[in-house]
């Protein structure tokens, strides 16, 4: 049995550079959007908060939390059954492919990349992974616990 390693060619050791540029753009956009949402949200609270509305929004939140939990659970399963774990690790920590979470790249980017990868990742089309599947995988990636800071891990300072 012969085993060509994925990383044999030096060129494929790292992500192709065009994507890197693309990532940077997406991240900046995402950051701007996120800041916008937070500001708008704060304004909405300031203007419209009333006791009954607050109760209402808490109920909605718990409903969406359980919907989120279901999505996370489904995403976690799909991450394994679709084989994402093979290259990205069961904790999405990275392996042959890069780490994917926590703090994943925006869903819109993930959808684009997974359907049209430009490096050595194989494509998942709508036929093999639906938009809903990818949304769930995204929810799973977002739910991953923050790793420890390397400075706080003595073993990583030796």
């Amino acid at each position: 049995m012969s085993k060509p390693a994925d990383t044999q060619s030096l060129g494929s050791l790292e992500r192709p550079s065009p994507e890197d540029a693309f990532h940077a753009e997406v991240l900046v956009l995402a950051a701007i959007l996120a800041i916008g949402v937070v500001i708008l949200g704060a304004l909405a609270l300031l203007i419209f908060v009333r006791p009954s509305a607050a109760a209402q929004s808490a109920a909605n939140a718990s409903k969406s939390e359980s919907a989120d939990a279901a999505s996370v659970a489904r995403g976690k399963k799909l991450f394994v059954s679709y084989g994402c774990y093979e290259c990205h690790g069961r904790a999405a920590q990275g392996g042959v492919g890069p780490r994917l979470g926590p703090d994943p790249l925006p869903l819109s980017f993930i959808e684009k990349y997974v359907r049209h990868p430009s490096g050595s990742m194989p494509p998942y089309t709508e036929k093999t992974a639906s938009d809903q599947d990818l949304t769930d995988i995204y929810a799973f990636l977002k739910s991953l616990p923050e790793p420890p800071k390397e400075k706080d891990v003595p073993l990583l300072n030796e």
């Binding site: 012969s2 494929s12 084989g83 780490r99 891990v153």
Partner: protein, 657 residues
């Protein structure tokens, strides 16, 4: 049965020769280039009457001897078999060990090694598969720098050995393989002997050994042993094979006073011609961003020191392709982990003993329709120093895609480095030195940033269960770094974490990989490397792939039996993981069944208990460990056992890569 007057090897003489044999055990074997003592009158090989096959002859002789104690009857014993002389020849070369799985096509040689040769230099290492025997010799060489002898049985043994010989060939590792054979059909005593015989036994492996021979006489044999060793040990190093026929082994040494073991002379490794070396120095000194890329450049510890000297003189970036321990991982000029970015900036690239220069300056991408694109700046100058250009085989394509360099020097890199360093030093000016200092400082900062990045990446999945390969590597490093350690497995399969995190700096800290990516190399090569490290008192450590171990787990027994201290840390990812990914790719590309890539590629249900497997071979084996918090105590326990001189295995259930 015709009686031979010349017969001397009879029942009475057997007792006498037993005493002589015992004396011979204590005596030092003949030195090189001295005449071998001629045996007492022996049966001439070309006696008029044809010899019956040995076993039938022995039966007939036994019957005759029982009926008639006449000392002149047909012989049933042999005083000085040809294989004794063969042992003299092998001893004159000097092999520390002989790795072998026994086979009757070299039974006489086997017996000569253990009795006439006193089982010392070489000492017989009992292997459970020919692939293990060759793999052990492969790993041993990369630590010790000396080839081992491997004896394999005719035909079926060669077939078992062939993949491992191919790995050694691709990895440019010399070993001397002896193939037993019943060449003379009259010596075949059973149908099995016929089945295991061949006209041309080395034909099967000729495409991946450097040289082979089938000597017809003992004198030929002795000369071929010397030539074999010399050819194997001239860069590019490669395995060689000698066919050893049973008649030559088992019949007495002929009464020939001229018979002698010649002296061994080794070739000096070929150095690059002086004008090309000058030109190389000029380009390197003038370059703004020179990059040195090394694959099998350092053949010895001296090669590693030369690599450091060249890089420091130039303050040049170094990328280690890790075929050998070419450059310290924590050296500030080591830019391996940011390889593509330094290649992209380079104006001169010096490739030293590269397997694949094309793959350094191009990136492969795409799956079903692979394409490549250049990753270098226009105008980059490429220089290659490579002994592979001196010897190429046709059939197997390990020579990789053709790359046109600007200057290609067919020579051994390590042997060329001293003159290159000298030429570079002569061209240095104060201006250049100042510029180099700045360059070195920038590279050192980049190196530091990359190390910090890698540490931060290693923290991802830190508490994952199964255990991440980064956590595994960090835990292991913590426990061995104060020892004189030697890491003897390929890092590729654990995302290179040890190379990314640990402080590799001595030649025996790393030995590279398979060479030919043939699975089944890992376990025996690490046992062979540990065997070489034993007398140096080093703590030998491997991260052992599960799929690889299952090709030949018998080598665990060899490690236990010969008390070879080795810490085996299982990378038990429960799959032939490369193939899981390959099949996944195909399912994804074919847009179907993306959940089925585990069929035929995984090692689950039932799970394999590697700890129990190790225990069954007589060595320590831990329970499966999937919780990272259990890892440190298990490693501590196993290391204590290894330090007491035994092998030990820790079964770590891991993430895929």
């Amino acid at each position: 049965m015709a009686k031979s007057k010349k017969t001397s090897v009879n029942r009475r003489n057997f007792l006498k020769s037993a005493t002589v044999g015992a004396a011979a055990l204590a005596a030092t074997p003949v030195a090189a280039a001295t005449a071998v003592p001629t045996p007492q009158p022996s049966r001439a090989r070309n006696a008029a009457a044809p010899l019956p096959p040995i076993s039938r002859r022995v039966e007939a002789e036994a019957a005759a001897a029982a009926a008639n104690p006449d000392p002149n009857i047909e012989p049933i014993t042999v005083d000085h078999p040809g294989s004794d002389f063969m042992v003299d020849a092998f001893k004159a070369v000097g092999f520390e060990y002989l790795c072998s799985n026994p086979g009757n096509s070299f039974r006489s040689l086997h017996e000569s090694f253990i009795n006439y040769g006193a089982n010392k230099n070489p000492e017989f290492i009992t292997c459970c598969h020919e692939e293990s025997a060759v793999g052990m010799a492969h790993g041993y060489f990369k630590i010790e720098g000396k080839p081992l002898l491997v004896c394999v049985h005719g035909t079926v043994g060669v077939q078992h050995a062939s993949m491992a010989i191919y790995d050694a060939f691709c990895d440019r590792v010399p070993l001397v393989v002896v193939l037993g054979n019943f060449g003379d059909a009259q010596t075949r005593a059973s149908f099995v002997n016929w089945t295991h015989s061949a006209q041309d036994p080395a034909e099967l492996i000729r495409d991946f050994v450097k040289w082979d021979d089938q000597p017809a006489t003992l004198q030929d044999f002795a000369e071929s042993v010397m030539r074999a060793y010399r050819v194997a040990m001239t860069p590019p190093y490669m395995p060689v094979a000698l066919v050893c026929n049973t008649d030559l082994q088992e019949f007495p040494i002929p009464d020939d006073p001229a018979l002698r073991v010649p002296a061994l002379t080794l070739d000096k490794p070929p150095q690059g011609d002086s004008s090309s070396v000058q030109e190389t120095a000029k380009w390197l000194v003038a370059a703004e961003n020179p990059v040195i890329v090394a694959d099998r450049a350092a053949r010895t510890p001296a090669g590693l020191a030369l690599m450091i000297e060249l890089a420091e003189t130039l303050q040049a970036a170094v990328i280690d392709r890790n075929g050998r321990m070419n450059f310290p991982t924590r050296h500030p000029l080591n830019q391996t982990e940011r390889g593509s970015s330094v290649i992209g900036d380079a104006d001169v690239i010096l490739g030293l003993e590269l397997t694949d220069f094309y793959g350094i300056v191009n990136a492969y991408y795409g799956d079903v329709y692979p394409r490549t694109r250049s990753v270098t700046k226009p105008g980059v100058k490429l220089i290659s120093i490579n002994s592979n250009d001196l010897y190429l085989k046709s059939n197997y394509q390990d020579f990789q895609r053709y790359q046109a360099e600007d200057l290609a020097i067919a020579a051994d890199a390590e042997a060329t480095l001293p003159s290159l360093i000298e030429a570079v030093k002569k061209l240095l000016t104060d201006d250049r030195k100042r510029m180099y200092q700045d360059r070195g400082a920038k590279l050192a900062a980049a190196h530091q940033r990359t190390l910090a990045e890698n540490r931060s990446l290693a923290a991802n999945g830190w508490d994952a269960n199964p255990i991440s390969t980064a956590r595994l590597s960090a835990e292991l490093w913590n426990q061995i770094r104060a020892e004189d350690w030697s890491f003897v497995s390929n890092c590729q399969f654990v995302s290179r974490w040890p190379l990314r995190l640990w402080d590799f700096k001595k030649y025996h800290h790393y030995i590279g990989g398979e060479g030919g990516y043939g699975v089944g190399y890992g376990a025996p090569a690490s046992v062979g490397a540990a065997l070489a490290n034993r007398k140096h008192g080093r703590l030998t450590v491997s991260i052992q792939n599960d799929g690889d171990l299952m090709f030949g787990p018998g080598v665990l027994w060899t490690a236990a039996h010969h008390r070879i201290p080795l810490l085996i840390v299982m990378h038990n990812n429960r799959a032939y993981h490369q193939e899981v990914m390959e099949v996944q790719r195909m399912a994804d590309v074919h847009e179907r069944g993306v959940t089925r890539a585990g069929i035929g590629t995984t090692l689950v249900n039932p799970p394999i208990d590697y700890g129990k497997l190790a225990q069954s071979m007589g060595m320590h084996g831990s329970a499966p460990i999937a919780d990272p918090n259990d890892l440190a105590p298990a490693l501590r326990e196993a290391i204590a056992i290894v330090k007491s001189g035994e092998p030990a295995l820790v079964n770590v259930v891991t993430q895929p890569r």
